[in-house]
């Protein structure tokens, strides 16, 4: 789960990582009020869960509370890469002497944590990695041993940041590491980390992503999540335990298991179709869940046909068939549903569907055949 900047900063503050003083505002008036409380000169920053907001005009300087009101009214409601800005973070503007980059994340291939630091901050770090890899200092931390001061020294001396920033940066890095580990984060990235005019080092931005699997030991995750904007269709799906991602095509996809669903998207594409979504009902899905899945998919007016591709393991195909029939009964389904069942109780499931013929129901024998049929139907072919 990717957090908003203000959420990440609130969490980092608890680990004594210095961040600028700031307040969240949802209206221009609130922004003006926040600016007044912060002493006038502020930065107004769009809060969105996507990068590149600076270039998109989502970050602006304001010299006065009046100016803060003005820029907040421009930024609020702005669309940044499909994300509507509903909040701004109003922060006291400081004097910046230099900008750096620092992060901690999990390095899967080394099975260790990786710390990275660069004196080239405030720019796209992927770009730095591609054009000037030596400008990024890297150090692995063994999760079983944890961080030691030398790790921080290697990052700080290795990245050749301003000597005046060294002492505070060496103190800050272990705190950032602690935040990374204790928050069950998958990423803690500060870009830029700044050296201020008066010689202080602080996190001017914060990208924190946390592992939702650890929600049981972090009650705060639910609060953080409540502030996130989830599209209606996705929220509906999530509440019912479905793993759903909307795409732009017209062939609705339902399957069990992420790998099989991804593979189904691929074969639909290969057959000349465009998937309308990714939907994984997970393992052991029952009839009710299947009915909800069909409801979610068919609520998208773009969908011209639906492909249900199930390979039963813990999932029982008879229950899948029951769910499909229940959905057809309950909903006014206007698009054809192609069903392919294999694995646990597949024969039973196929028979149930055959015994209850519905004008919108199309049976398919194989995964490839089902994909071709669904694409053909989406393109207006006959059942």
């Amino acid at each position: 789960m990717d957090l908003f900047e203000y959420q990440g900063k609130e969490l980092l503050r608890k680990f004594d990582v210095p961040v600028p003083e700031g307040r969240v505002a949802t209206t221009p008036d609130e922004a003006a009020e926040a600016a007044a409380g912060l002493g006038g000169k502020v930065v107004v920053k769009a809060q969105v869960q996507v990068g590149g907001r600076g270039k998109a005009g989502g970050i602006k300087l304001a010299e006065s509370p009046e100016a803060a009101r003005e820029v907040a009214s421009q930024i609020l409601g702005m669309d940044i890469k499909g994300h509507t800005v509903k909040r701004v973070l109003v922060e006291r503007a400081g004097d910046i002497r230099d900008e750096y980059y620092v992060s901690f994340l999990l390095d899967r291939s080394e099975r260790k944590f990786l710390g990275m630091m660069s004196s080239k901050g405030g720019v796209d770090i992927e770009e730095v990695a591609a054009t000037d890899p030596d400008a990024i200092a890297r150090v692995h931390v063994d999760p079983l041993v944890g961080i030691s001061d030398f790790h921080a020294r290697r990052l700080v001396f290795g990245s050749k940041i301003d000597p005046e920033a060294r002492k505070e940066a060496i103190a800050l890095i272990p705190r950032l590491y602690r935040a990374f580990v204790e928050l069950d984060a998958s990423l803690v990235e500060v870009n830029p980390l700044v050296l201020t005019g008066d010689g202080r080092v602080m996190a001017l931005d914060a990208k924190v992503a946390v592992d939702e699997s650890a929600s049981f030991r972090h009650p705060v995750f639910d609060e953080l999540k409540a502030a996130h904007d989830i599209p209606e269709q996705e929220r509906f799906a999530k509440e019912r335990g479905l793993n759903f991602i909307k795409l732009d095509g017209d062939v609705g996809i339902i399957g069990n298991g992420a790998g099989l669903v991804m593979s189904t998207l691929d074969v639909v594409k290969a057959a000349g179709g465009e998937p309308a979504n990714f939907l994984d009902v997970g393992g052991g899905a029952g009839a009710e869940l299947l009915a909800s899945a069909i409801e979610v998919i068919t609520s998208n007016p773009e969908v011209k046909s639906v492909l249900v591709n199930i390979f039963g393991g813990i999932t029982r195909c008879d229950l899948v068939a029951e769910g499909i029939l229940a959905a057809l009964e309950r909903l006014d389904v206007k698009v054809p549903i192609v069903v392919r069942l294999d694995g646990t109780n597949a024969e039973q499931g196929r028979k149930m569907l055959a015994d209850a013929p519905h004008p919108m129901l199309v049976a398919a024998e194989t995964m490839l055949g089902a994909a071709e049929k669904a694409v053909e139907l989406a393109h207006g072919g006959a059942r």
Binding site: D124, F278, I314, G343, M367
Partner: protein
């Protein structure tokens, strides 16, 4: 022969008294797996359909000689259960449980891998493994498998079933099918399992099923080039998957790859591994490779 599990497997199931645990352990036993014990703290002395339950893995091992553990306990207790199995002396640990915090596995996996014992953790968040006709530990449906020369390793669950099904339909059986799971830090990776297949006399050809994200497939391809003599056929899922809604870009930097299906397929093909475009074509490529050898 097969890898990791066979007729000598003596299985202890952690979480045997739970709904999922008892159901799948029962299916494994029906398949012929030697299910010797269950572990549920506080329920020692009871039994599930005649299988004795112990309070700790150590007790179960000393009373029954269990050598393989299957972990079916809820996510928040699962890392502890894996460590308990290892500490209890079990050398093959299969963790089915999904949604275990990555921070937990970041400690457990290196700990087990760095030990001087020859212990193997499969999973977590995996369907387990099956050596057809010999033993089944996990949730892979036994009826779609048959005994034969193909060693299969995959990050996926149901997609694996689809490919096993396609193979079996063409009369091609399997030595062992291993689902290593889709977590960021799996107990065993592709290379660990490929190495075991290379050493297994029954395995003549390997099918390796990857998916988008990370760089495990690319690393396996590089390793296979220098270390595998047996032919490999591969499949990668996720050519059309949308890029994740990530904010940070740091992940792509360390992997040295975008983690896309295209990049993975290219890395595999560059070392001479044939990549099927769909599960059906994978099975057909296996048939071809068998004819050629």
């Amino acid at each position: 022969m097969s890898i990791l599990i066979d007729e000598n497997t003596r299985l202890v199931v952690q979480g045997l008294t739970g709904r999922e645990g008892s159901f799948h352990a029962g299916r494994n036993r029906d398949y012929g797996t030697n299910l010797v014990a269950g572990v549920t703290p506080g329920k020692g002395g009871t039994d599930v359909n005649g299988v004795p339950v112990f309070d700790t893995v150590a007790e179960a091992v000393s009373a029954t000689g269990a050598n393989t553990a299957m972990v079916f306990v809820p996510a928040r207790f699962a890392a502890d259960a894996v460590l308990e199995a290892y500490d209890g002396g079990v050398d093959v640990i299969v963790a089915i449980t999904e949604n275990i915090p990555a921070m937990d596995m970041a400690r457990v996996v290196p700990y087990i891998r760095s030990s001087d014992r020859d212990a193997t953790l499969i999973g977590p968040n995996c369907p387990g493994l099956i050596s057809p006709g010999r033993a089944n530990v996990g949730i892979i449906p036994g009826e779609i498998c048959s005994q034969g020369p193909v060693g299969l390793v995959s990050r996926s669950g149901t997609l694996t079933y689809q490919i096993i099904h396609e193979l079996t339909q063409r009369g091609i059986g399997q030595s062992t099918c291993v689902g290593i799971g889709g977590d960021p830090i799996p107990g065993s990776d592709f290379i660990d399992i490929l190495a075991k297949f290379e050493d297994d006399p029954q395995t003549e050809i390997v099918v390796f099923v990857g998916e988008i994200g990370g760089d495990a497939e690319e690393r396996a391809a590089a390793w296979a080039k220098d270390n595998m003599t047996k032919p490999i056929v591969s499949y990668i899922a996720g050519f059309t998957a949308p890029p994740g809604k990530r904010m940070g870009h740091a992940g792509a930097i360390i992997s040295g790859s975008k983690g896309t299906a295209q990049a993975k397929a290219e890395a595999l093909e560059a070392v001479g591994i044939r990549v099927g475009r769909n599960p059906t074509e994978v099975a057909e490529l296996v048939v071809e490779a068998r004819k050629a050898s």
